[in-house]
Symmetry: D2
């Protein structure tokens, strides 16, 4: 408790994609563009692609959606047969291109670009050390810390050689602590790395002789790459003109026996069509829904999902319970910009722009509403009220995950503990707040049972508070002197 104020630095949700096929179609940037499009749900604020023609890194980063940033003209400028890309959502106000990724620099070893998904818990401390040693920072993201560590590596192989790159990446990552799936690109190689506990996903694919790495398999599907396997926790994969090499990231350390694969990716963040940690996300959510029906049955007329993330669990709940499934809430496809609320205020305005309740379907019905999680409770409250206003006689809220009581420090955007309703209220209080007739959360144990997985391979700190990697308990020293802008 009281950890909440610790982190005020930039927290990112992100997606990464890389393709290496030098000598082939020389349209790596176009594939990266499509791959990022398929990962757009992982970050809608900024995006970037860095390509290489074997000599120069070509960079383009901007604020906005992938489809808006990467025009045909921009892609034409991103030359070469290899590329990495990044989509990013930031939780703070620091929406500046200076924080967009991949981060690309020149250093003694040549040019290198990095895209990062995850969160380092000792980034502030490393930054302070690096600054003390004379480093300058142009962004506020963790990624720049990693690049500095690479640039300061003592590894001594020929600049630009695979040995130099792998050595300096290892040396840099040996210093950092936290969650990371990373893609590096130099003019001569692409490297993918997943941290030893495997918090964030990263998969390997193959497209007619080209190697692909991506946060989720949905990016492979779009470009018709075959899914080969996950990049394993603690694995380093290097691809260059000599092909693919897989090595242990830290050969001198024992393999982690406790893994930290993010269960929240399975619950909410990943796309349902992805294979995550070797499992179908859709099937996982479906199983959660079935289990939820077992744990929290209720007599009702309809099972209604909160679209889209609640759909598979609601189908599972409906199947298990025998209660008919209905799409009683419709989601608009056209949200994206800030709307101005009329002075004559509209109830639940923010939610209403995204969701509408179907009166004819819900009227007079006892409704089980299935959602994936409750964060602050404010949205759930609006949804329950909307459904009741549409005529439902009873509204039973069912959540296909345990109560979210702890903030994530490993790469999922969550508010501070004070803002998490489950951290400060018990379940009856939450039910009252969201105005539901009943409320049921999936149990922690039930969650793992539902999918037949061992808890020891997952991180569920957001539910349990059991953080697998320690982090500074005191707030980072206030950074009073800062740079913001473009």
């Amino acid at each position: 408790m009281g950890y909440d104020a610790v982190y005020d630095k930039l927290k990112d949700e992100c997606g990464i994609f890389g393709i290496w096929g030098v000598g082939q179609q020389e349209e790596a940037a176009n594939f990266a563009y499509l791959g990022l499009h398929a990962l757009q749900h992982r970050g809608q604020e900024a995006a970037g692609i860095v390509s290489t023609d074997g000599e120069t890194l070509h960079v383009h980063r901007d604020m906005g959606h992938v489809a808006d940033i990467f025009t045909a003209e921009v892609i034409a400028r991103l030359k070469g047969g290899a590329a990495i890309g990044h989509v990013r959502y930031s939780t703070t106000g620091e929406s500046h291109v200076r924080n967009a990724q991949p981060f690309a620099v020149e250093y003694a070893g040549g040019a290198v670009a990095v895209g990062h998904n995850g969160n380092l818990v000792n980034a502030d401390q490393l930054r302070t050390e690096l600054e003390a040693a004379g480093s300058i920072f142009t962004s506020s993201s963790d990624t720049e810390v990693i690049v500095h560590l690479i640039a300061r590596s003592k590894v001594n192989h020929p600049p630009g050689s695979p040995a130099q790159l792998m050595g300096s990446v290892r040396e840099a990552l040996a210093r950092v602590s936290g969650a990371y799936s990373l893609l590096f690109l130099t003019p001569s190689a692409m490297v993918g790395v997943r941290d030893p506990m495997g918090f964030r996903p990263l998969v390997l694919g193959r497209l007619k002789g080209q190697w692909v790495m991506a946060s989720e398999t949905t990016a492979l599907d779009l470009i018709e790459a075959d899914y080969v396997r996950e990049v394993e926790p603690g694995e380093l994969i290097l691809v260059d003109r000599d092909g693919l090499r897989s090595e242990r990231l830290f050969p001198d350390r024992p393999a982690e026996t406790r893994l930290g694969r993010c269960i929240f990716e399975a619950i909410y963040f990943a796309r349902p069509d992805s294979i995550l940690f070797g499992r179908s996300v859709y099937a996982t959510r479906h199983a959660f829904g079935k289990r939820l029906a077992v744990e929290h049955p209720v007599p009702a007329d309809l099972v209604v999902p909160v679209p889209d993330s609640g759909v598979p669990a609601a189908i599972g709940y409906a199947e298990q319970s025998g209660i008919p499934f209905a799409m009683g809430l419709v989601r608009s496809h056209y949200v994206g910009r800030t709307f101005i609320e009329p002075s004559q205020q509209i109830r639940h305005f923010g939610v209403k722009l995204k969701l509408n309740a179907l009166k004819d379907v819900l009227k007079g019905k006892r409704v089980v509403v299935v959602d994936d999680s409750i964060v602050r409770g404010t949205t759930s409250r609006k949804i329950v009220k909307m459904i009741r206003a549409a005529g439902a006689s009873e509204v039973h809220l069912r959540i296909s995950s345990p109560p979210t009581s702890w903030p994530c420090y490993y790469g999922i955007d969550t508010p501070t503990r004070q803002e998490l309703i489950a951290a400060t209220h018990d379940q009856p209080q939450i039910a009252t707040y969201v105005t539901a007739d009943s409320l049921g959360y999936l149990s922690l144990a039930g969650m793992y049972q539902a999918i037949g997985e061992k808890r020891e391979t997952y991180c569920d700190a957001c539910f349990s508070g059991e953080y697998l990697i320690d982090f500074p308990k005191r707030p980072a020293m206030a950074r009073s002197l800062r740079v913001v802008g473009t």
Copy 2:
């Protein structure tokens, strides 16, 4: 047959919205903006709002989505307590602002703006007549024809008076033939009209003393207006400072006994959360799905909808058949711009950008795929192939409407008859083309039975070829001298 080449003029799918609340919050444009946002699915190419402060009509029209066009700055310029708006999708290449609506002009009666949903079958003929009488045209839309007819009306009441407006609208519409739901705005009144057969929807709502008219009730829901009733076929509603007046559009004509409410709105075009022609769209589609299961049962493991329009019918099919429902196809939320296909081609590229098949869900399963209609057959073929490529052992395609064999001339964008696969192929041929193991269409009779409606109140020309309003059988004389651009 052979009618297909008749119409090469602009065909629109559109949505309209109007609000009259002069003297109230003076933020009619903001409500129109929200209303159009809720109608965005009816036209994504261009949008416009015309507001009035009682003296001047303020216009803003542009290409693009509602949320992009109407910035806070633009809305601030659209002053006044009354406004009408329009969203438009055009089927031809004429994507120019000059064809955007509402169409606003000055004429002897003052200033008037018009938004139109529908299609006139005698627009070309009227245009030729009007041009012969000295009219000039700045757009290629039907709407300009209506405005010219109003301007040339012989009605002789004081300019700007309700009598003048209603009289000239009546005189103009007496000349036109076809489908129309229309909203007119002048500095002193708003008029809503629905053609005598009621092809296109138009509803009336009330928001704290303000009158609202919209293509669909979903627009009422978003702004929290109460749904009052449909504007009836052949009804003219005038709203001005004296309140609302309802009159028959053509008092000297007998009421139509044969109505032409568009069944395709119910099948596909309208939003599932709308009340259309007095019925829940969701419930209608659900009923179609149940009936489809009765008419075309098949042993299978899963019922999978083509999202989003196929979802309610698929739920109905699953319920009726007892086969489990699954979201085996995932739809991307981020489509919108043209993507460049890599030279190394991707199979089903266009469909893949929108849909992905879930391998883990579909593998080894006998799948019933439910879609709302088949137009050219090319998309259905890609979807069936995607599902089979994802591992389905059988793919049974079920369509929740009869075969689409005839083009629509009343406001729904359909290709020419030659391009409609059901016009040129029988069902076994279609099944072969789309590579489905079996194919079943909902029967025409079954469709009406499913919802307990009389066929005499609907237009189903796209299925039956029974066109309720005659149209020129020969192609319009080629318009060799044209103006295109902005």
Copy 3:
């Protein structure tokens, strides 16, 4: 007197350009773009080009500068071997694309586009008549009136034929009264017309077999067309596949003996490198300056122009007087957008953004400042004060034209009579207001003597109040119901 409130309608300053070279390089739009660029000084608010490929008119119009509007992509869409273009500056707030030109429509005769430089004095009256006959208006410019008159012409030749076009243009222009230089484009011909008194300039040029018409010869120079001659007052030139035909606009009327060539074009509006009405603009202004020195000598140390329009006259003044010429005011090349004045106010902020006074040059000097005209007096006052603040011991203001006392109704943007300082103050009062030590205007007679021209061939109503074409003395009936916007 009291005429000032008469005109509140749109007043334009404009430039026009046309090229006809069908069958040649098919890049007429590019030439039009360059031609308009050379005419940019005649209107910086909006611009448009209409091209034709012999079948369709391709239009592009937008707000802004020529170089910003016409990207390579836009020009590529403006296909064909003939094009007309227009630049426009409007004096009212009606800065909407709907008022941009060329105005392009379809009518019974096919498609036609029109670009207009000038001002009609009976446009309001004609508009009222046309509206009474059922015409609708989408803009507030005079040009739309002309198009309606063409569309309603009773001329009866084959549609699209030269006879039809020339006949309907003649019939239309026979109705209008005022100043006009016009270019028309149809898929089969280009027509240029200058009103019988020749208020606005229009020249004819030739570029390797292509015919060019433009407001000023500077547009010919840029594209290397040869200057052939002026289009004469009352002349109609038609260019089509059969070549160029010159006819009298009104063959049944006697030629005007009193011409109305705008002397203010020579004084200020035209570019100094143009040949205007057969005379070098630079030489004209130089001669005005010399005459000004004869009429208003003063002992001084320096002659300083207000750049750029005052430069040639200042050189002339310096030559005649023997007083050294100096560029004591520097003009910024980078003005264009609205600047925000700091709350700590800057003296003469608006003028200072454009001009800076050279202290080292002016300090302790008796300075003759030469400007082309004084309109409201506010800018002159700021300039005199700036020069004095820079250290000048005396500031003598010399104006190379007579006092501007009357508004222009024939196409030059002038404020109302009340706002013209010379209409309400005598010269000593003006000198006091602008804080000059002395003030001298060129005399009306001296102006014509300086260039050896007869006053009967020029309009100098802005100086003399002798309006050559009558106009409505009472304000047009307030147009209470209007349309504004895009």
Copy 4:
């Protein structure tokens, strides 16, 4: 000779501006915006402003003109009472925001921003050293080298203190060699520095208690700041809450006796209304023109400047020679974007877009054309030909500076020596190439005599090849691995 290939790195022409007035109007960014606008001629490619509110540095940088980049909204985000700004023109293709300035970073000493005008001759070498020590580079500009040196300074005062800032700036600049006028901004201080030889200008001004520094006095004039004096060569000025402090940059070094003030600023680069190195630029150029007439007289009818930079010298030449001055070339005010040349090529297209020759003025005249310099000779050739094509009987080219034979390595953009026509051709050859009837350059000695200055205080390496600061004679090692883009 042979030095030309040495520098392929980024060469900038730049302007800088800074204002410190914390506690006052808090609109430093607006003043910076106006100041940069007045310095726009020093760099039109990119611009940036960094402001501070005493805690955070707020940055905005973008490609384009000052007036386009800094909208009211952007300025509102640049909070605080102090700001520095930068305009930049780059000679290489590296037109990316990543090279825009001020360059702003966080380091151990807090946040710092730097704007640089000049060029370091040992930047590549320092960069290599810094990279070897683990520094990373995100841009290709010299400025980042300076920032790294500051961050690595061994000075040990409290972070954020004036002593720390001044100490680290001194330590950093002690390492660099070349030309630099620099402005630094931290949340607590602004520092201005000019290199010991004073190559680039920097002036100090005062605006009601606020201190201002700028490249040229024209920036002071616009905001009505008083010109106090030049920042002297080798001077460091610190402004903070305690006021202004002036110190010697290198107190342990003897003052330079040989100064290197850039004579080319006086000839061409600075605005004529600036006071440069204590002298009026206008008066300097006027004196050059008079001297030129003494050195290279010729019987002629007109003296015509190449506008705008040639105007003061042409006036001087005309005065001295008694030959009448005429603006025989008109410059367009609307150049800015790339124009597409028609396939039917236009002679001298590039020059023609900017300049037009006045036929009526030039016809049959013997013309003396005065320009400030000849670089490659191609533009001069086009101008001479244009004047002759306009009818001049003789064209005598007079250049108000000596032959430009050597590239500048100290901050003025010049091509390589091979491209300088005066480096490879003698004067008769140049006259022949530019097709002039005669050619005369101002002599080196005459240049200094004309203004009564000692050559020992100026750098004239571009004319003499006498480089005051040595630079690497061999090309920098090719940087094969680079990052380009945004």
